[in-house]
Symmetry: C2
Subunit: 127 residues, 2 copies
Amino acid sequence: MKGKKPDHGRGTALAESPEFLGSQIKGRLWIERQGEIFLSWGRVVLLEQIRETGSIAAAARAMKMAYSHAWSLVANMNDLAGEELVGRTFGGRHGGKAWLTPAGEAAITQFWELADKFREWLKDQEA
Amino acid sequence: MKGKKPDHGRGTALAESPEFLGSQIKGRLWIERQGEIFLSWGRVVLLEQIRETGSIAAAARAMKMAYSHAWSLVANMNDLAGEELVGRTFGGRHGGKAWLTPAGEAAITQFWELADKFREWLKDQEA
């Protein structure tokens, strides 16, 4: 990993097989809607950080991500979902409060269930 | 896809599920050895282009990749495999001739078999 900024999933394995004869299979999954990335590892971790901190700004800081980037990811997820995954109040110089809606909670659950199934499948493969 | 340069797999889906309620699961797989990328979609397509053209330089041109980059990918694959996947003669300003060894053919077969199984698995998932 280069530099200090953590890699939140782009180009990074979400799951991996056990090592077999010195080789390891690694993989990533993401969910698209209308041909655009909707949910990925990094986006789901952002949702979890919003749940934990109650604020998009604090979640962005925890992920060493620009606030404007976190905000645009949230806006894009709400847009592609056709309903809010993240509710938020506006105002205040730190951007107000934020919370997950039931649809946001469901998105997280759905993504990790899929990731778990992917990890199980990868375990069954031999490199 | 930005610019004219094709994306040979990094950040691009190797496999995808059918669309389900407007969503589609996409994914990538790659094989690592010693913690380094050994075989990925782009690397395997490079091997196939070398087989087709008989030359690393021609394969690089076909993939709109710098010759030096193609050469370093081949050297890295040979190194991580512990045997040559690509044999080559040196000399000549176009870098000589190149061909796949049986180990190179086996690597291609192994990767596409894994990719096929991954596509099958993704088909069984619902977004």
